[in-house]
Amino acid sequence: MGIRERLSGNEAVATAMKQINPDVVAAFPITPSTEIPQYFSTFVNNGAVDTEFVAVESEHSAMSACIGSEAAGARTMTATSANGLSLMWEMIYIASSLRLPIVMSLVNRAVSGPLNIHNDHSDAMGARDSGWIQLFSENNQEAYDNFVMANRIAEHEDVQLPLMVCQDGFITSHSIENIELIEDDKVKAFVGKYEPKHYLLNDKEPIAVGPLDLQAYLFEHKVQQAEAMKNAKKVILEVAEEFEKMTGRKYGFFEEYKLDDAEIAIVCMNSTAGTAKYTVDRLREQGIKAGLLKVRVFRPFPSEEIAEALKNLKAVAVLDKSDSLNAAGGALYEDVISGMYQKGLQVPTVNYVYGIGGRDTKSDDLEKVYNDLAVIAKEGKVTDPYRYLGVRGDK
């Protein structure tokens, strides 16, 4: 039946971690994810969990400790944001290449500089090619649900990859909202016991982890990593199906909101999708056929599936909460249009970089995007696809 509660996004993730009771958590505090290890260390101190909590001296050490413990055979978690993830940089590639299913809560924040503590997706986008599975969450409920599903996906024997659950810093991490929690025993049964096939502390099977890997094998190992990422697609859907049986809440690669008969649509991730739903409802009242595609699974990228879902639209806007600074367009935009190109689709698609450094994104801003899309749909083409939304000095 579920438990009606009200929690912030950070409290929701800390609650999921408590229910899962991992073997090891190693973390270093950084705004806006600090509360997660803070709450979790309280659970450790109170005996609510029997996790080994490693208070490290930096994020590089946090990820290094996670790698060591996961390789040893322990279910391991961490949380970070922005520059914390930057300091983990060297180690996040080690984690994925060693096929260690570490689970991270990434509370999205702008990567400095100049120094900014507020939300955008530059931290997650920087890690998009690091071999981590990336799930995005609209609100506290989805951050919690994604976290409950995370270990099942990451630890699956066809996957064995680290996974990060993203949510918007402050906007959802520090906002108290309604949430439906799952009973402790159900979470425990759903997540199950961690039984890695190969691990360092198995005295019956001595193995080496992370030795030198030169021209003879590294390429093949990278292909195996790529295969694992492809396999993750199937596993993500299987786990979601089982989760739906338990909770009634349905998850896929993405959520389609009023997209069936839509003529114009926005594609975006995280909390902006909630504001977009509100905007779509408002426009629908005026008879405008607006829709939304909210991406939940960004890595692996459901390229074909997204293209298929967008194929009947007259115009699409992809919103990137991070600028790739590449003179071409944002990361989500480029992935979406690549998928369309592969399918031979000619849907006019425009990119808006928005919300940088915590710039608030209002329903009126999104309404402006839909208005622009109505014009593009009429003209049937886009001449300037790389645009900004909500920046001062905007045309």
Partner: protein
């Protein structure tokens, strides 16, 4: 569309405006509502102007932006009236609730011609009488509940005694004072315009 009530709080860091917004979210949640309670984080310093928000609705709330056209505004510190545009976007069908002892003429002069309802409450005296200390957030919480009518006085009082018992489990001596501050505030908030 169901009724959505949006509230904006203005206070200074350390006065508990953020806590008050979270307490209001809690109380409304306990009466079965869908709620949001969130602060707008800026430079976090004691005394700096801060803003916090509430959305309260009978249906799930999906919008995730700050509130620009609130139904109600709560001003926890009247020294903000001359430096923050507290009535910005405030609906004229709504109201502003101010913790102040200043007179109506002065308030009129700083509210930018706001035509909606204006309520005042002397949260300082109420807090000092009931608690012996100046904690404006409890009186202001009661005042906005009364003015907005998001829940009945009775539901609110019942909920607050429960949450104070929980919150102050180790300091039961302050529960009575806080409840007294709420009861007095529910009566003393007065409409001046």
């Amino acid at each position: 569309m169901s009724k959505l009530v949006e509230i904006r709080w203005h206070g200074r860091g350390g006065q508990g405006a953020k806590t008050a917004s979270l307490l209001l979210a809690d109380a409304a949640f306990n009466t079965g509502k869908y709620i949001q309670g969130f602060p707008e984080y800026g430079p976090e310093r004691m005394g700096a102007p801060i803003t916090a928000y509430n959305r309260i609705s009978d249906e799930p709330v999906t919008i995730h932006s700050n509130i620009y056209e609130p139904d109600y505004v709560v001003v926890v510190d009247d020294t903000l009236l001359e430096c923050v545009d507290v009535t910005a976007g405030l609906k004229e069908s709504g109201a502003i609730v101010i913790n102040t002892t200043k007179d109506a003429d002065y308030l009129k002069s700083v509210l930018n011609g706001y035509k909606g309802s204006v309520y005042t409450i002397d949260a300082r005296s109420i807090s000092i009488d009931a608690l012996g200390k100046y904690f404006p957030n409890t009186p202001m919480l009661a005042a906005i509940v009364k003015v907005s009518g998001v829940m009945s006085d009775e539901d609110f009082l019942n909920d607050m005694i429960g949450s104070f018992k929980h919150k102050f489990a180790k300091k039961p001596e302050v529960i009575e004072g806080n409840m007294k501050a709420i009861e007095v505030s529910l009566k003393e908030v007065k409409k001046i315009q």
